[in-house]
Symmetry: C2
Subunit: 330 residues, 2 copies
């Protein structure tokens, strides 16, 4: 072995080879040691603040969506809803817009109850504004946003289906709550739901808005919203209302078509009554609906026209929940 090598011509060469070989071996050991040091450490799941990377984390595109949920004074509902929404298929990430100014977020508690299916980011706000949820958050990686009010529960089945519908209508607000405006002979607009007179285009009713508190829309519209005239932002701040009406105006102007596509929900619930906070939503204020009519007319002034368009398309899921839900007498 070594002696065999030493017999090679030139004792000098033999010693050089020996040194060379030793150096190579030492270098290899150092490299191996370095590689070992670079391996990711296996964290103990019970450590606070640990977050294990979900195995299925892929580059999000049109195949997943980001849930944006703004919350004020209903942390108990928020946490209940987060447990539900974190497991919706195709969800990429949750962004919680924390409007409880000066109050600590439940992030620590959230992390201590991990692991979670998706990352949840708590965005602490400095002012309690309705339009905080319409910021163009840098955390957003998906084309699609699902926006939910912090007291609204929609079943996973409904959300999975509505997301697939959004993918076929990506420039629209695809959601579960339709509303409309009507015009009156005086030229003044009024806002309402189905109890309000139909606009009178043939049979049945029409809707001209889909509320963003339970809807999918393209994340690009958040940037658009930031670009809107200052008067629009001021109106929303003045009323602490109407951000959804403004978004419908924006989308209708952008597409020249009805802003929304209404998907009829099978299971949608308002959990307001279940909160311990005693806080009931803004829509209970006496002036809520009058404000919304006011907003419609203000926005028409700001945009110098009425861009909202009517639709009477109502989408349901074929064969679900009842596999024969499309059956007819024929």
């Amino acid at each position: 072995r070594w002696f065999h090598l030493c017999k090679l011509p030139g004792r000098v060469m033999g010693i050089r080879l020996l040194r060379f070989t030793s150096v190579v071996i030492i270098v290899l050991l150092l490299v191996a040691g370095a590689l070992t040091a670079l391996l990711p450490t296996i964290k103990d799941d019970k450590l606070p603040n640990s977050r294990r990377e979900p195995k299925t984390q892929t580059q999000p595109a049109l195949d997943s969506f980001t849930l944006i949920m703004q919350t004020y004074n209903r942390t108990d509902l928020l946490l209940k809803l987060l447990n539900h929404y974190q497991a919706i298929p195709h969800l990429h990430k949750v962004i919680v817009v924390w409007n409880n100014i000066g109050e600590k977020t439940p992030e620590e508690m959230w992390n201590s109850l991990g692991p979670h299916p998706v990352p949840v980011v708590f965005k602490v706000q400095t002012v309690n504004r309705m339009r905080n949820r319409l910021q163009n958050f840098p955390d957003l990686e998906t084309k699609a946003v699902l926006m939910m009010d912090d007291d609204t529960l929609v079943s996973a089945h409904d959300l999975a289906f509505a997301f697939s519908v959004w993918q076929q209508f990506p420039e629209h607000i695809v959601g579960f709550v339709p509303r409309k405006h009507i015009s009156t002979p005086s030229g003044v607009y009024s806002y309402g739901s189905f109890e309000l007179q139909s606009p009178g285009f043939g049979n049945g009713d029409q809707y001209s808005m889909v509320l963003i508190g339970a809807a999918f829309f393209h994340s690009g519209y958040l940037e658009d919203f930031q670009q809107q005239p200052e008067a629009v932002h001021a109106l929303i701040d003045e009323t602490q209302n109407c951000d959804d009406i403004a978004m419908n105006f924006l989308v209708a102007k952008h597409t020249g078509k009805p802003s929304g596509v209404f998907v009829k929900p099978v299971d949608i619930r308002n959990l307001e009554k279940d909160t311990n906070s005693g806080y009931s939503g803004m829509w209970h204020r006496a002036e809520h609906l009058l404000q919304r009519s006011y907003c419609v007319n203000k926005l028409v002034n700001i945009y110098d026209g009425m861009p909202l368009k009517y639709s009477n398309i109502m989408i349901s899921q074929f064969g679900f929940p009842n596999y024969a839900n499309h059956k007819n007498k024929m």
Copy 2:
């Protein structure tokens, strides 16, 4: 007067003026007579074979549709249905494809019972073929075709709504009867309706075809159909069936999307039982459904692939018939 004129210098000039004036008067009278002769004559409405031009006859574009109804051995149903369909809003013209070879059409009776809201054209066929209705009729002036089986009654409300839906999805077959294919481990396809196993893409069922016996589609697809491989025409002739499956293959290939959009009908009826002819439709033949599975597989061979795509979108009319048909518990 004349004497006054005669006093003008030159007696010759006065006579010339007189002649000139006379000639002008005579010419004017002749012109007036000619104009009177060119006026349109007012026709008596009770004359046989007279057709008064409907006042609202405008250049048809995307705003109206042509009804194509093929008929065989059910003239009583045909006439009952024509009375209903002739009054559907936005109907431009009716084309009756007369498959009763050698039998006189009811055109004389039809005309004697005029006036009618729209023109009806009876296209006499030389051979009783299922695919006769898919000819590119020169009488077609509209972009949209409504194709109806001669035993199917769909309410005007449903048709008006479905037409408005077609206008939003003009490259699709928009209709009332969804069907699907499923693939099996052996690679052989099978045809069926909702009682057949769902294709297994998430919740609920899917459809991959909308039958053309009660549907709107773009008239351009008739020309496309004529251009299809001879094997397709031969298949339809061999089975006297499957023309609608072939059309769905055609549309799916053309769009790369699901061929159909299903509109859930409120009021659709099969009048088959009501016929005096004793003739019951082709779909009562024992081999009808087996033939359709056979057709699916043959078409896959002919087109070297399966172009049909699944959809689970079911469209209904918002607020009709029940103005609160979208209301939820929330």
